[in-house]
Symmetry: C2
Subunit: 152 residues, 2 copies
Amino acid sequence: MVDIVHRVGIKAPPSKVYSALSTIEGLAGWWTKATTGDPKVGGTIAFRFHTPGGDEIGGFDMGVLELTPDQRVRWRVKGGPEEWVGTDVDFSLSQSDGYTVVLFGHRNWREEVEFTAHCSTKWATFLLSLRDLVETGQGKPAPADLKIGDWH
Amino acid sequence: MVDIVHRVGIKAPPSKVYSALSTIEGLAGWWTKATTGDPKVGGTIAFRFHTPGGDEIGGFDMGVLELTPDQRVRWRVKGGPEEWVGTDVDFSLSQSDGYTVVLFGHRNWREEVEFTAHCSTKWATFLLSLRDLVETGQGKPAPADLKIGDWH
């Protein structure tokens, strides 16, 4: 199995980071504006992405597996690109030196493909968008996300 | 073994990206200004990092394993944090849709630790610094690198 991992420190209390990971409004503020669904455990959250012109170009359906306030959020991918379906996304929060540390994992890819590498870089930019949202009130959710090349 | 992978597309010819990966001046323009050594195959390049006050806080010594013009650069880590020593760093270039695509791997970590996650995120920011250097002439090498939390 192949895992993508990242670590970002955010200058804010865990409750603010947790809120950005566990509510539709929070998620829409750093990943993609087109976020809808039921963010409770057992629910499904739909993340969608669009061209600047407004055409839908894809997305992910995440089943919420765990919500431990101020500590952990876990999802299982229920719909999206075939490489993603069945993989797990995990945000673990801890505190260090005035920061809330987000330890991120997108785990259990069946194999490493070029798309894995793209998603790894893209996750880094979205986690920095999460950081910016929590620290400044302004993230960079899609369609205003940072582009990283020919695959967006 | 654990691998960090990333993928970034750069709007420039492969020769410009290769130059930024294979010369001291190029490397100093996106990773760390304190880059010295022999960038030829069989040589060792020393990358060092400093506090804003100028104190050295660490670094890496990379043995150059491969230089295939406009296609590939490979290093083996000879000195640095113990988690890094013996691991391999690999930049593979290809062309896609007007971009030079950099497929990056930092491979053969003995285990996944929190430092792996930190380095994964940090590599993403440095690869975007490489992109900025090649596309605009201005990267963000250390000590002006983007900070990602309590571990810099």
